[in-house]
Amino acid sequence: MGDLFAAYPIFGAFGVTLLLTFFSAIGATILGVVVVILRVSPVPLLQKLGALYVNIWRNTPLTLIIIAANIVMIVNLGFSFSESFSRDNLIWAVIALSVYHAAFVCEALRSGVNTVPAGQAEAARSLGLTFSQSLTLVLLPQAIRGAITPLGNTLIALTKNTTVATAIGVAEISGLQKTMMEDRPDLFVVIVLIVAVGFVVITLPMGLLTSHLSARLGVRR
């Protein structure tokens, strides 16, 4: 086991996994908030655009999106960010993961809005609060608390999905796993354990934190 860690950049590969997770989570949150605002906005056309975004990306395989980012965006259309091809692939992997998971962030936030009983909004309006007041003072605080569990699940899914970036040669852990297994078939079980334990170590705190937060902050009904 020691010689595996000596011969292969295992921690580096998990580092790339964490890097992809971190930046994609930021991208997906920003995009997802924009899309959910479109979806709950009073303008029908914008609602439809939000729904279109969710339906397109939620129903496309992530593998296809990531490969298309490479084939279509970099190779064919030449949207390049740097001299280095591998850095371009890394950046486009982050963009692809963000675009894909924004659809799920949007749905998570919307399910949070759905946990707020209709009476709350009606009460806010009958008190004479304006739309923006009832949204920011009454609905959103409860909606965000209600969305913690699904948001946490989306983050865990995102972490696991960063492995797909191996399809365009990003040096994260599943690519290294393949290399290690080809080179050292005798250490198969050890390699599986290293990768599995790595993911459990990364995702377990996320799950614990989400259930802790949603138990603490969740609104009892």
Binding site: P61, P150, K160
Partner: protein
Amino acid sequence: MSDIVLFDAPGPVARARHRLLAAVGAVLVLAFLAFALYKLGEKGNLAADKWTPFFTASMWVDYLLPGLVNTLKAAAISVVLAGAFGLLFGIGRMSQIAPVRWLCTGVIELFRSIPVLVMMIAAFQYFTYNNVFVSDISPLAAVVTGLTLYNGSVIAELLRSGVSSLPSGQREAGLSIGLTPWQTLQRIQLPQAITAMLPALVGQLVVVLKDTALGNIVLYPELLTNYQRIGSNWSNIVPAMIVIAVIYIGINYTLTVIAGRVEQRMRRSHGGGGGAVTGGAAGPPSLAVETAVLEADEPRLGAR
């Protein structure tokens, strides 16, 4: 909560503002589409000879349909196996015998936290190195193994959350008429839990179907894998990817719509006086099952 209660019925000023916002949105989207078409056209992707091959029989008979058949084959086998796995471990997790319960919980939690691709790569390497299958079946077996382990664990978890959110009176009633705990589970709790899970299960089909595309990475000749062969034959790799994406979106969107219909139908039938199995008590508790199952698990399920 329906979205409409978020705001009052718009007056003249608000309507004018909404029209303005809609116009801005439309302009932005059209500008984006125009830019995309311009860039695609600039590299020659819109030329007629890149698109006409999709109207030939050879394209469909030799490339797209075989890929689609392989995709559906992997998905179908995985769904059946995952259902069996989920039922087995889901019931095991609710077992009266503590070691069985711990073992099943451990297995479910483990396979839920490892990425599907990691399991596929491991299975592929294991199968090829140990010659478990005739060599050309290994990729299919690897795809099926990965999908079964992951989706089976998710189904097991769905089953458990379905059973545990049934009203406790259901179990008590079963026990008090002299059924054993196993008979109560099998005859009273499971049928209700499975019905309540139905929409989430149909939704899970989308996840399975999308994840077959990971087979591309372990050399399984599914639909996505053929973009390269199409591209090298007609040098139209970008149109090929677009057509393949449209096929995936078409199938998965249909499944999503079906899942929504099933859910609506169940909500309606429960709302209107309770199901035949459970009588009057079915209404609100079953609804609670659905929302609990959906809200706790769906985003994660959907996201893989």
